[in-house]
C-alpha cells in the first residue's frame, strides 16, 4: 500500500502525512497530476508534517500557500516538522503592526 502525504499548495514547503510513517519509509505526494517520492528522515505520525525541500534556519515555513511560522533550525528535505523546529510567531497586531498587550512569546 502506498503511503501518502498531502500537499495543499504549489508554494508549500511541507506536506502532511496521512499515514503513520517510520524513519526510512518512502512517501508519495500527489499534486497537479504528478507523483513525487520522498524519504522520511524520522518517524512522522499521521497528520504531522514532512519537509519537501530544505529549509534554512529563520526561513518562513509555507503551508496552504502562506507562512505558518519560522524554522528554528536548518530543516532537511524529509525531516519531521513540528514544535521542535518550527516556531509559532503569530501575534494579534494593532493597525500600526504592534502586538496588542497580553501576548507572551
Amino acid at each position: 500500500m502506498t503511503n501518502y502525504a498531502k500537499l495543499l499548495h504549489e508554494k508549500d514547503k511541507v506536506a502532511t502525512a496521512v499515514a503513520d510513517l517510520a524513519s526510512g519509509d518512502g512517501v508519495t505526494v500527489k499534486f497537479a497530476g504528478e507523483e513525487t517520492e520522498y524519504k522520511c528522515n524520522q518517524d512522522i505520525p499521521f497528520g504531522h508534517k514532512i519537509a519537501i525541500v530544505d529549509i534554512q534556519k529563520g526561513e518562513k515555513v509555507i503551508k496552504y500557500g502562506e507562512a505558518i511560522g519560522t524554522a528554528l533550525q536548518d530543516i532537511k528535505k524529509g525531516d519531521w516538522v513540528h514544535t521542535h523546529n518550527l516556531k509559532d510567531d503569530y501575534k494579534v497586531l494593532d493597525k500600526e503592526g504592534n502586538a496588542l498587550p497580553g501576548q507572551e512569546d
Binding site: 502532511t16 497528520g47 503551508k63
Partner: protein
Amino acid sequence: MDFYGYPRPDGKVGARNYVALIPATGCVNAVAFHLEKMIRGTKAISHDQGCLHPPADTEQVTRTLINLGKNPNIAAALVIGLGCEMVQAEKVYEGIKESGKPVDLVAVHELGGMFETISKGAQIVTEMVVTTSGIKREKAGLDKLVFGTKCGSSDTTSGLSSNLVVGEVCRLMTENGGIFIQGEICDIMGGEYALKKLSVDQQQGEKIVDLVRDLYLRGVAVGADVRGSQMTAGNVAGGLTTLVEKALGANAKGGNVPIQGTLDYAELPKGPGRYIMNFPGHGFENLTGSAAGGAIVHLFTTGRGAPNGNPILPTVKICGNSRTNISMKEHIDVDVSSVIDETETIEEAGQRLYEYAIEVANGKLTRAEILNFDSRMEILIKGPVM
C-alpha cells in the same frame, strides 16, 4: 442539478416550509414547545434571551429573531411575547412582516396566561399550516442558494479534506451566483491577513482583522490570551504546530473565493458571493447566526463527529476521518475520507458535496433532522447579563 424550493413573497426560495413559533423572550419558550407538539408543520425557535440586556444585545436579539422569521425556510411565523420583555414582540412581528409572509402575534400577559395563549396561538398556527402547506416547490436558479458553514469537533482530517471540499463548494456555488456565509472569528484568528488578501475591498478586509482584534481584547478583559485556548494539546498531538496553520485549515472552507465583506451577527448579506459573519465557533449561536443571515443549508465539517443541527437550518455533516465515518455513522451525511486516501480529488469531492447539498435543499433530510438532533439553538449576546 436543479434547485427546487419554496418560493417566498420577497423573492427568496426556501429548502423547508415551516411555520415558526418565535418567543420574543425565553420566558415564554414553553408556549412555543406546547404549540410545536400540538400542531404539525411547526418549529419552535426557542432561545434563552430577550431581557435584561444592554441596548446593543437587545438590538442584536431583535435583529436575529426578525431575520430568523425572514429565513426562506420559514413559510409563516407566530411571534409570542410575554409583555414586559426588553425585546419587543411587536417590533419582531413588524420586522418579519416586511417579508410579506403571514405573521401574527400573541402575548401572554395580555391574553391572561398560558392556556389562553396556547388556545389562540393554536388556532392561528393551524390556519397558517393549512395555507402554507399547500405551497409547491418550484424550479429556482442556483443563485437562490444560500449556504452557511462551520467546523466542529474537528481533527487533523478537517484541514486536509472536509474543509477543502467545502471550499470547493464555495467556489462552485458562488460562481453560480449563490451566497456563502463563513465566520467563527476564533478560528480565523491567525488567518485574518490571508482573508484580508482575498477581500475585494481592502477596507472591508481590514474589518476582518478588526473582528479578530475585538475578540482578542475581549479575552484580555477577562484575563485570557485566547490565542492559547485556540491551540489545544490535542491539536499539537494531531500534528498542528502553529495557530496560523490551524486557522488556514479552518479558512479553507471558503477556498480562495473573493470575500465581498463582513456581516454583523445575524445580518443579511446585500449581494451574492462569500461573506465573513461575526459569529462564534460555538455551534448553537453559530447555526442561528447563519440561519438569520438567510442560509437555507449549513455545511458542517467534523473530524470526530459533531451531531447537532438547528431547528430551521438543515445541517449537512461532512467528515474526512474514515474511523469516525464508521463509529459515528448515523450522524455523518457525507464521507470525504476519499480525499485523504487519494482516491478522489478535492474538486471531485466538492462537486459531489455540492450536489448533495442541493438535494438537501430540494427536501432530502439531513441526519440531524432525521434523528431530531436539532431542537436546540441560542442567540449570541455580548453581555453583561444584568
